[in-house]
């Protein structure tokens, strides 16, 4: 297989298969979650909680607890920085938008490439710091399981290979670009079956959290 063959395959059938697995997997995931159901709350409620649920989706991006704020500064800031950087890298790079356009039928304005490049670098550095934190902090070290590291790698690889492809580093461009797309395929395939699902479920979790508190009249 030549570099060009490889690129054509991952870009065509490879990406399509991965996308299908992603969509079917996420559908299954939501089915698994919602088929469990939840008992109706029979207590005399102070409110429906619906509003507090939506409010919590937003407010939970910050902290209400002064102690935790002081003691989790790194996790908090690093979390924000790498998520924003990654968002920029995925959704605001011109060639990526082209791909979304072929799938979705519409596009949106891109950011200048040097800015996306900078965001990618910042994201990668932050992710490395996050990994270092995970293996050195006693709580994180205790909590972490294999999957946490797999998920870290699945997130890091597309950034790294994307950066290499853009700067034409080390290997032949077609190979690197092919590997970049392959790493995205892997991310898509593993996504529904790992804690990467948090990217979707966290909003619903926050909603339930706020809703259940709101039913009792607790404002967050």
């Amino acid at each position: 297989m030549t570099a060009v063959d490889f690129l054509l395959w991952v870009r065509g059938p490879g990406l399509t298969i991965a996308s299908i697995i992603f969509v079917l997997g996420m559908t299954l995931k939501f089915f698994e979650i919602f088929m469990l159901g939840r008992k109706k709350n029979l207590a005399e409620l102070r409110g429906s909680g619906v509003k507090e649920g939506f409010k919590t989706i937003v407010t939970r991006s910050g902290h209400v607890d002064t102690y935790s704020t002081r003691h989790t500064k790194f996790t908090h800031i690093a979390g924000w920085v790498f998520h924003i950087g990654m968002f920029i890298a995925i959704f605001l790079l011109a060639p990526h938008i082209e791909i979304f356009k072929t799938f979705l039928g519409f596009g949106w304005p891109a950011l200048p490439t040097p800015i996306v490049d900078l965001a990618t670098v910042i994201s990668m550095i932050t992710l490395l710091a996050i990994l270092f934190h995970r293996i050195t902090n006693p709580v994180l070290k205790y909590l972490s399981v294999g999957q946490d590291y797999v998920v870290w790698a699945l997130t890091f690889l597309p950034l790294l290979t994307g950066y290499m492809a853009y700067h034409h580093l080390f290997f032949r461009y077609e190979w690197v670009l092919g590997v970049h797309i392959l790493s995205v395929c892997l991310l898509l395939v593993f996504f529904p079956f790992t804690k990467l699902t948090h990217a979707f479920t966290l909003f619903i979790s926050r909603w339930y959290n706020g809703m259940m508190a709101g039913e009792k009249g607790v404002q967050q």
């Binding site: 698994e32 979650i33 469990l36 939840r38 102690y67 996790t75 966290l202 009792k216």
Partner: protein
């Protein structure tokens, strides 16, 4: 609590898993932030006390039973089954080191209600026979005698007679058609007899009818703490039956945090139907009296004071403003702790911790958080509204050689009542 086995435990735990639980497990990124919200972690720095870790066996059960990948892994023998040894280890984490205080729930960035998860985890633990001895004993006494501390009706009646002599009024028992039915907690009956007198005085002034049921006066619910819905349901049913028999409009939960959660929020869900009466915490009732102008006080406390919010009242109960309104009636020098209201730190003994001898040392360690909060303030008096918090705080203060009297809010208010009308008895 008969024939508790691992099999029963896993079955009970499986039944607890619902949509929010699946969402929470799907959302957790192991970021570790919940650790710093939990006083059992902050005061011990034991990573095993990280809130989400307290439900780890439940996470595996969820994965193995309710996800495709988990089932495949289980089928090909790639998943680790949950064992008795493991649950035994987790007993320490999810009972001794958790007061169900709810702080972790407020901090988790992905929005996991970890307290809700731990409450459910305990259902499996209790059914598997891995609940602490102290809680098993309390639950047995609650079911058999009617009180987790073994307090019987004659003890309450003796206290009532005492109050009657002091106040020159009758303590109403089993009065049909009274507006309010008063519940008590064993801790109050045993340790704080002033509470009953205070309530009687306040209701006399407000001119409201109230009663105590001789069949169901105990408000505490060990079933909730140990995590046995069957026991909790039985205890709640007794209160419901008594309240329906006496046709009261409102049942009053006493100055006890988890009793409020048990009857107010879990109660109707346990018995599977809505209550035909309201349930209010005593502070809610008193604040209503205040708003209606029925609570007349005179004079102010000299001491500089602060208020300890019982977790089940604020974070898990939504009663936040009421104690402040009431305190301001009788105090001019009231200061707030740094993380007050919905983010207040737990006293360290809620959620069954106080009834669990295995946690005796740990709960004093956890108290250090409250100590730090108090050290920053320099107050003369601490006011609270939960007999359980009160005992823990008194013990903690004594152990740390801090000379701060702890008072119940209801009693403090009663001391400032304007004694004018003596209409009700």
């Amino acid at each position: 609590m008969s024939e508790a086995t691992l099999e029963r435990g896993l079955k009970a735990l499986k039944e607890q898993i619902d949509t929010p639980i699946a969402l929470f497990f799907s959302s957790c990124t192991h970021c570790g932030m919940c650790a710093t919200a939990c006083l059992f972690y902050t005061e011990t720095e034991n990573p095993a006390y990280t809130p989400i870790n307290k439900v780890e066996p439940m996470r595996r059960l969820w994965e193995q039973e309710y996800t495709l990948i988990g089932r495949i892994k289980k089928a090909i023998g790639m998943s680790k089954p949950i064992t008795d040894e493991e649950l035994e280890e987790w007993q320490e984490y999810c009972y001794n080191a958790c007061s169900l205080c709810g702080r972790c729930t407020m901090v988790c960035p992905v929005g996991n209600d970890i307290t809700y998860m731990i409450r459910k985890m305990r259902e499996g633990m209790a059914a598997a026979g891995h609940a602490p001895e102290g809680l098993i004993g309390a639950s047995k006494r609650a079911v058999k005698i009617g009180s987790p501390m073994g307090v019987k009706l004659p003890a309450l009646q003796a206290q009532a007679r005492h109050a009657e002599k002091d106040l020159g009024m009758e303590i109403p028992f089993d009065v049909e058609g009274a507006e309010y039915m008063m519940l008590m907690s064993s801790m109050e009956i045993m340790n704080y007899p002033e509470y009953m007198e205070a309530v009687a005085k306040i209701f006399r002034q407000a001119g409201k009818t109230w009663t105590i049921s001789s069949e169901a006066f105990e408000a505490t619910n060990s079933g909730i703490q140990i995590g046995s819905s069957d026991i909790a349901r039985e205890l709640v049913s007794r209160v419901v039956t008594a309240a329906e028999k006496l046709k009261v409009k409102t049942v009053i939960s006493p100055e006890c945090g988890h009793a409020y959660t048990a009857i107010r929020w879990e109660g109707p869900n346990l018995i599977g139907r809505k209550f035909p009466f309201h349930v209010k915490h005593i502070l809610e009732v008193l604040d209503e009296f205040r708003a209606e102008g029925l609570l007349k006080t005179e004079g102010f406390e000299e001491a500089r004071m602060t208020f300890h919010d019982p977790c089940q009242l604020v974070r898990r109960g939504g009663v936040v403003e009421q104690p402040r309104n009431l305190l301001n009636m009788v105090s001019k020098d009231f200061v707030e702790m740094k993380d007050h209201g919905i983010m207040n730190w737990c006293c360290g003994a809620g959620g069954g911790v106080s009834a669990n001898e295995d946690a005796a040392e740990l709960k004093m360690q956890a108290f250090k958080r409250k100590k730090s909060q108090l050290d920053e303030l320099n107050v003369d008096t601490l006011v609270t509204a939960c007999a359980n918090c009160r005992i823990q705080i008194e013990e903690g203060l004594e152990e740390n050689e801090m000379d701060i009297p702890v008072v119940g809010l209801t009693e403090m208010l009663a001391e400032h009542l304007v004694e004018d009308n003596k209409t009700e008895g």
